[in-house]
């Protein structure tokens, strides 16, 4: 017997964070049957729906299943009550960003649009303070736009590294909290036959083995491709995912140019391989993203309504991209009066993307990855192929 103490606040929070229809569920289990991602045993998302209705916060936040969901929304489309289980799971995921955030008071700022002004204020204040540091803000001259002449590159890089370090520390702490919590989940450990002639029963392949397994799946988007109703998302997400990776590589390339080859101002010509990579990444990211936004707006009934957290992430990403392009354009056009202020705006937005990553939608990358590994480790999730191997 488990003592149940419903947490009404939690129910209401989930409803506000994108699970507005969760109370409509009447437990028919259509969703669990239809979900292409759910394992047959102890399937989701029906059980998550009643936990959510009953405000069973602990259970839900430790439930790795919420991350096995890829929000295909097959369930929401077929739910006879319009309870939108796909969106409810998304809301729960949003809640985990908060729950495991470090420090938690910052995570809190992402739970409601009411705190949005603070989220904007932080980078502006920091930037202002940063610019007060002597030698950071330079006075550019001439009609050519050279961003390095406006703000000291080195300073930016140092600041960027500091932010990066913060992000890494914070993310690792959150990682750890989550991994521990999921480890405490009461979910059963599944025994899976894997190995010689179906004889060996083994549960875990060890951390790194499963890490590798999970990584393979993530890189291939294997699970994503199983969604039925919203198959476009597989491709779109693949675009966003590899877009990021390419952009990451091109950034590394740029850094290498600067430090290994001593290039002063990064104004690479369009044919430069690093530039090409960056542009392809940009197109993939931008394209995939737009596709998702378009579908969600035009067919929110089937594709699922985005939550505030989704919007925050998406909008920021867009703005970073747009300001980036405009910066490039104004540089080429030599519009100094536009370029430099734009640069400031861009820095604020980039900060928001990076520094907020562990708290925002971006965080799903790590939580999902962990949940994924957990599921693999416990045998909850075994690729069909793998099981038959």
């Amino acid at each position: 017997m488990v003592r149940i103490e419903p947490d009404i606040r939690f129910v209401k929070d989930l409803m506000k964070m994108g699970g507005g229809d969760l109370k409509k569920c009447f437990q028919c289990a259509t969703c669990s049957v239809i979900c292409p991602q759910s394992p047959d045993e102890n399937p989701f998302p029906r059980k998550e729906m009643i936990w959510a209705q009953w405000g069973l916060k602990d259970k839900l936040l430790r439930d790795p299943d919420i991350y096995l969901c890829h929000q295909c929304n097959d369930c929401s489309i077929n739910c006879p009550r319009g309870a939108k289980p796909g969106e409810v799971l998304n809301a729960i995921r949003n809640y985990t960003f908060y729950e495991y955030s470090t420090p938690k008071f910052i995570g809190k700022l992402f739970t409601s649009p009411a705190y949005f002004p603070i989220l904007i204020a932080i980078p502006i204040i920091l930037l202002y303070a940063f610019l007060q540091i002597p030698g950071v803000l330079l006075s550019p001259e001439g009609e050519h736009v050279v961003y390095g002449n406006f703000i000291n590159h080195l300073a930016i890089e140092v600041a960027g590294m500091l932010v990066g370090a913060y992000v890494i520390v914070v993310a690792l702490l959150s990682f750890y909290k989550y991994w521990k919590a999921v480890g405490m989940s009461s979910g059963p450990v599944f025994e899976v036959e894997r190995g010689v002639e179906g004889k060996t029963t083994m549960v875990s392949g060890g951390f790194w083995y499963e890490f590798w397994n999970a990584l393979k799946d993530i890189l291939r988007h294997t699970k994503f491709s199983e969604c039925a109703e919203n198959r476009y998302r597989y491709l779109a997400h693949l675009g966003v995912f590899y877009g990021f990776i390419l952009l990451g590589i091109s950034t590394l390339g740029a850094v290498a140019y600067m430090y290994l080859f001593g290039v002063k101002e990064l104004a690479l010509p369009l044919y430069d391989p690093v530039k090409i990579l960056g542009n392809i990444g940009f197109l993939l990211l931008f394209g995939g993203m737009s596709w998702i936004v378009y579908r969600r707006l035009s067919a929110s009934g089937t594709a699922g309504k985005p939550s505030y957290q989704d919007w925050f992430f998406i909008t920021d990403l867009y703005l970073v991209a747009i300001t980036g392009i405009l910066m490039e354009a104004s540089r080429l056009a030599g519009a100094t009066d536009i370029a430099y202020p734009l640069y400031l705006v861009h820095l604020v937005l980039v900060f928001m993307l990076l520094a907020y990553a562990p708290y925002s939608k971006f965080a799903h990358l790590m939580y999902r990855g962990l949940a994924y590994m957990w599921a693999k480790k416990t045998g909850r999730l075994v690729g069909a192929k793998e099981a038959s191997e």
């Binding site: 488990v2 009447f26 069973l56």
Partner: protein
Amino acid sequence: MAEESVEKNYMLYICTGCDIGDSLDIEKLKEVADEDFSVESKTHEFLCSAEGVELIKKDIEEGVNTIIIAACSPRVNYDTFNFPDIIVERVNLREHVVWSHKPNDEKTQQLAEDYIRMGIVKAQKMELPEPYKEEITKSVLIIGGGITGLTAALEAANTGYDVVLVEKEAELGGWVKKFAKLTPSTPPFRDPREPDVDEKIKQVMENDRIKVFTSARVESISGQPGLFDVVISQNGTKEEVKIGSIVVAAGWEPYDATKLENLGYGKYPDVITNVQMEEMAADGKIVVPSTGKEAKKVAFIQCAGQRDPEHLPYCSSICCMVSLKQALYVREMNDGQAFIFYKDMRTPGEYEDFYKRVQEDPGIFLTKGEIKSISKTENGMLVEVTDTLLGEDIEVEVDLVVLATGMVPRLKKIAERLAKEEEAEGEEAKEGEEKAEATETETEGEAVSEALEEIEGILNLTYRKGPELPELKYGFADSNFICFPYETQRTAIYAAGPIRQPMGVAESEDDATGAALKAVQALELISKGAATFPRVGDLSYPEFFLQRCTQCKRCTEECPFGALDEDEKGTPKPNPNRCRRCGVCMGACPERIVSFKNYNVDMIGSMVKTIYVPEDEEEGLRFLAFVCENDAYPAFDMAALNRMEWHPDVRIIPVRCLGSFNVVWIADALSRGIDGAILIGCKYGDDYQCHFIKGSELANRRMENVQETLERLALEPERVKVVQLPISEFDRIPEIINEFVEEIEENIGPNPYKGF
């Protein structure tokens, strides 16, 4: 039988439309009428047309008073071929001959000829019924002043009839008066509504046509519909009123929760029933009984006894809605939390919207589950639930537990008392031999019966067949609920509301309206001497030739409607207004002294005798099908309409009810060389479909006598068979008939009495 007052002037009309003329030799049919019966005949190619009807009317003007119409089924065009004060017999050539048999075939022709003969004989043996008419009182008695009774009273009064309303409590309004709110009954079905019973009470009190007796009960009801003598006692005084028809709206009581000890009732003060919860809510405060503090967390246990063979085996249909409503009380009045544990949530039809609305509330938690235990803790009550949808066994600590108990019809305990009394009577008879036995259990039994003895009756009829409405199951008034919801086994007495089926307020109001109109309709029919449901408008009624009665009491026993009382000697005393004209008494009577002007033993016997039975078996065997008019006969029509074919050697004889089947017809038939008879009637048993409740069952029971007859004639038992046929299974007809025929043809052989 009865003396022929007017000389009969016959005419046979044969319609040649609807494939009849093309499939049969009409001239030969006319010859049969002429040669065998000297009955003149006319044909028309479209008899149901204005012109055809005109043809008949002209003949009637010229003195024809007995007509045989050989055309379509009597179940169609009955209004077209409706000639008042004329004997009309319909021969079903269309459905039962040409649509269901090979056209222009020797056997089909023989079939048609037999039906013509049978029709003419039937007309010969038939008299115009003279209705039983007496000056009646057109007033309606309503028993019960709850929402159902009040509604019925208003409905009957508003159609212009006098109403007498009897309520046992000092105040009108029944349960609804005690409720805080009612579950929604109109779109959008979102919010509980205010009980509007005060308005109804006011209307009733102000209505000049309605006479109200409160703190009163019905002492006795004697007589018959239209002429009931009802004694009402009120505060020790008795008043006798004349009543025409009755609506019983005596309602329900909550299931005795003390029997639910497993759920903690009686053991813990903080376990209450939904009725107690409602009363608290009506008083404006939901508190924990043991502490008097506001109840913040409340658990509702659904199906508290319902759907459990140990307690109430049925779904009470409203308690899910009630708990949903009461969960809202907890939310709105106490800002608390409500837990609902159910077996299944049953919110039929649009009530689902209310379920949805309650679900939306973040402070209401629902799950399916089995209650494992309810116990007391330091801070409240602990409810342990297994098999939940949460995927594990859970326990919840609450302040208050509400058991959603079910409805028990008020008839239930009365029925138990009556059964006990009957048993006791039976035992008295046997007493002496077994007296030494079981002294211990006896005292126990007595204690039970003492409690039961105090249960007062509702109707207290002085009928021979008992004082109350017969129950079907679980104490609900029997009402052949499939098709005829308010009907009961007592003519002109209708049941409405939870006395006949568990139901909520809105349904009870609908029910009351229906039953009130039924009661009013009964008055009108009875005043014309006509039967009520199901032979609505039938003017015939059974007549008893009592000089030959042997007081065997079979008719009084078997009459499903308690129409026959008895004198001290056991001679039946008919009450025609209580009678539904089923003919069961006619089937029961071994002396064959019961007859209707237009339906009697001799008539059917003569029809059987007029059938041509070929001596040479090569010409084919002959079979009879006695077919119930209510469902089986139309089933044959439907089969024919679907152009299904059945064996042409079978002659269909419609009967009012299989219960009116008299065994003598079998003797008549078999001694003439007919090879077998099949009786087709409605389904019987708990979910019977018989329009006269027990008719088909009785016929089946009488098969014993039939077997005796067969034995006496040294014939095989397989020659007679009873079949139950729900009307929806008309497609089985060819199979049923053909198998029966083939079985006899192949395995039994022809009747040795042929040609005697």
